[in-house]
């Protein structure tokens, strides 16, 4: 599949932006500047970008605990994300949510979700809104391989088929749920085949290959917009960092960890491919790298300069009896 230069540039820019964002978060976390815990998306960029490049701001996504990549791909502002992750008042959720609860409803980002399997039922609700209001919006639910076994996603898939909702279920199979391998926890070795059994088109793609994800999503999105109902995509990838920042990952072999960084990296893969094909030039890509780095410097500086939420914020945004 060949894509125009604008598309390729945007794809690279967004993947790079996600990677840089995550690596900065990692640095900030190690430096002790980030409260709580964070889960990094590095190595999975091609999935969020390949999927979300088909979406408008008005379309919806539901995310996971590993949601920074989805948020950025859906158009959230890295500054306000970094502010949120540092718990600042200027953050996307005013500092009340944090890394695991980044949401931006104006951009159709329905929220990172710290409950594994929490998003799919919500996402079919957004799809129901689209169907009920006869808009052509679509809703995408991101779930991990571990989450793919959760009863909630099966219920959501069946409901989406029964009501023929414009929903797309994307399972990001990075091989592990915490320390447990997908090949142990997923009794059906193939989640796409399992999903097909629910009565919807389901495909398996290489989630490290932007082009494969982009192409598979095109079909699913077109079908959904045209009223053709839900689809399922399993995208296989490799997690570069641990389950959470600080995870020693001794459940993975040294060799596997090296490969994840050096062999399976979707961004260098993309870069190699577009340079080889001559579709983009090194100069173009390098300048994107530079801009991205600057953008992230900026985000981190802004985040540090952010202010802590006022204590009164504890009592707002909720009906509080006392």
């Amino acid at each position: 599949m060949t894509l125009d230069r604008q598309t390729l540039l945007l794809a690279y820019k967004t993947m790079r932006r996600i990677r840089d964002f995550e690596e900065r978060v990692n640095v900030e976390f190690v430096a002790g500047n980030i409260p709580g815990f964070v889960h990094l998306y590095s190595g999975e960029e091609a999935i969020a970008v390949g999927v979300c490049m088909h979406l408008e701001a008005a379309d919806y996504i539901g995310s996971t605990h590993r949601g920074h990549g989805h948020s950025l791909a859906k158009g959230c502002d890295p500054k306000r994300m970094m502010l949120e992750i540092l718990g600042k008042a200027e953050g996307l959720c005013g500092g009340k949510g944090g890394s695991m609860h980044i949401a931006d409803l104006q951009r159709g980002m329905l929220g990172a979700n710290a409950i594994v399997g929490g998003s799919p039922p919500l996402v079919i609700g957004a799809a129901l809104t689209a169907k009920t209001k006869r808009s052509d919006r679509v809703a995408v639910a991101f779930t991990g391989d571990g989450g793919s076994n959760q009863g909630t996603i099966f219920e959501a898939m069946n409901m989406a088929v029964v009501l023929q909702l414009p929903a797309i279920f994307v399972v990001e199979n990075n091989g592990y749920g915490e320390g447990t391998a997908a090949k142990y926890a997923v009794g059906a070795k193939d989640t796409a085949q399992r999903a097909a059994g629910f009565g919807m088109p389901a495909v398996k793609v290489d989630g490290r290959d932007f082009f494969a994800v982009y192409e598979a999503t095109a079909g699913a999105v077109d079908r959904a917009r045209a009223g053709g109902g839900p689809s399922f995509i399993e995208a296989r990838c490799a997690r570069i960092h641990g389950h959470y920042c600080g995870d020693p990952q001794s459940y993975r072999s040294k060799d596997e960890l090296t490969k994840a960084r050096e062999v399976h990296d979707p961004i260098s893969g993309f870069r190699r491919r577009v340079l080889a094909s001559g579709e983009l030039t090194a100069t173009e890509l390098d300048s994107i790298d530079r801009c991205s780095a600057e953008e992230m410097d900026d985000a981190v500086t802004t985040a540090h300069a952010g202010t802590a939420p006022p204590v009164e914020a504890l009592y707002t945004d909720v009906y509080a009896a006392y």
Binding site: Y60, G62, G91, L92, C93, G94, G95, K96, G97, H101, A103, D104, L105, L110, G111, N113, A114, I115, G118, P120, P121, L122, V123, I124, G125, A126, A127, L128, T129, A130, T132, K133, A139, G151, T152, E155, A156, N158, M159, V162, L163, T316, D317, V318, Y319, A320, A321
Partner: protein
């Protein structure tokens, strides 16, 4: 004004709000009377008949029969609420909370706060509750103390057809998730209900009866038990005030405090299990804010700390009786 059953009052509320606002949709099992069968539509109209006739008027796009998957029902309703609809999801029996709690506890209830005030989740979850049907341990619970404990939810528990209609309309117009609980034994209770649309505000208790000797607080079906007891007490020259909070979140503490200031005695009647119950909460509030006025201990009359038994003799003994309420009230009045 016309004589209307509790069931019909709920049906009226749903119908008038669906006419008023095309974003209101109903989601649940057999709410349209079932789907895909070889017979007629709207066969059930909801397992208790509350939604009867709605699919005929509004069609299946707005009265949506679903598979038996409560997490998907409640989650879908919450996601739809976040994105512009005003769904009324039906959970049938509140006991089924067990298979969908996460979408209420960790999702719908928390969005507004967790997302810094940027999310609105105008969702109503209707469910029936309560013992008295010999339906056994898994179909007879109250569980409203769970919802009352959860920040971000509003909890409505009507006791009369008038309140049922006004509170349900209010619930549908509210921008927070509202749990709306209907006692199974009240559906056939009749009362005068205005034919036009009206709302009953949340957080305003209703004084069902006034008396100077003690204050009895009760919810839903228990208000009827309390009034029965109050009548019996009156025959013995004891005058009780009976208060129905109507919503437990928000909870109208002031009305109860004012009454206790006058009577000095409080008795709370609650059909649910005792520990960490709404009865406990009301007792704690008064022990904290109304202590100076108290002339006697605060009594709770609740079900025992046991599951609901099936056999009628046992279930009758399980449910708080007006006799038990009367006896406890007399103890309080005589206490010194």
């Amino acid at each position: 004004m016309s004589r209307t059953s509790f069931r019909q009052a709920l049906n009226d509320a749903l119908r008038s709000e669906m006419r008023r606002d095309s974003n209101v949709v109903i989601i649940g099992e057999d709410v349209a009377g079932g789907a895909g069968g070889t017979g007629v539509d709207d066969a059930y109209g909801g397992i208790m008949g509350v939604t009867r006739g709605l699919v005929g008027e509004f069609g299946r796009a707005r009265v949506i029969d679903t598979p038996i998957t409560e997490s998907a029902i409640v989650g879908m309703a919450a996601g739809a609420a976040m994105t512009g609809l005003r769904p009324v999801a039906e959970l049938m029996f509140v006991d089924f909370l067990g298979v969908c709690l996460d979408q209420i506890l960790n999702q719908a209830a928390k969005f507004r706060y967790m997302f810094g005030g940027k999310a609105r989740t105008p969702l109503v979850i209707r469910a029936m509750f309560g013992a008295g049907f010999n339906a056994g341990a898994q179909h007879s619970q109250c569980l409203y103390s769970f919802f009352t404990h959860i920040p971000g939810l509003k909890v409505v528990i009507p006791s009369s057809p008038y309140d049922a209609k006004g509170l349900l309309i209010q619930a549908i117009r509210d921008d927070d998730p509202v749990i709306f609980l209907e006692h199974t034994k009240l559906y056939d209770v009749e009362g005068d209900v205005p034919t036009e649309s009206y709302t009953v505000p949340f957080g305003e208790a209703q004084i069902l009866r006034e008396g100077g000797d003690l204050t009895i607080v009760a919810l839903a079906r228990m208000t009827h038990i309390a009034l029965e007891a109050a009548a019996g007490l009156a025959e013995n020259g004891v005058e009780a005030t009976v208060i129905d909070p109507r919503t437990t979140s928000p909870l109208d503490e002031e009305t109860i405090l004012e009454s206790v200031a006058a009577t000095g005695r409080l008795l709370v009647v609650d059909e649910s299990n005792p520990r960490c119950s709404v009865a406990s909460e009301i007792a704690a509030v008064i022990a904290e804010r109304g202590f100076r006025d108290l002339k006697a201990p605060i009594r709770r009359i609740t079900a025992p700390h046991t599951p609901v038994p099936f056999s009628p003799v046992l279930e009758n003994a399980y449910i708080p009786s007006s006799a038990a309420v009367e006896a406890a009230a007399m103890e309080l009045v005589r206490w010194s």
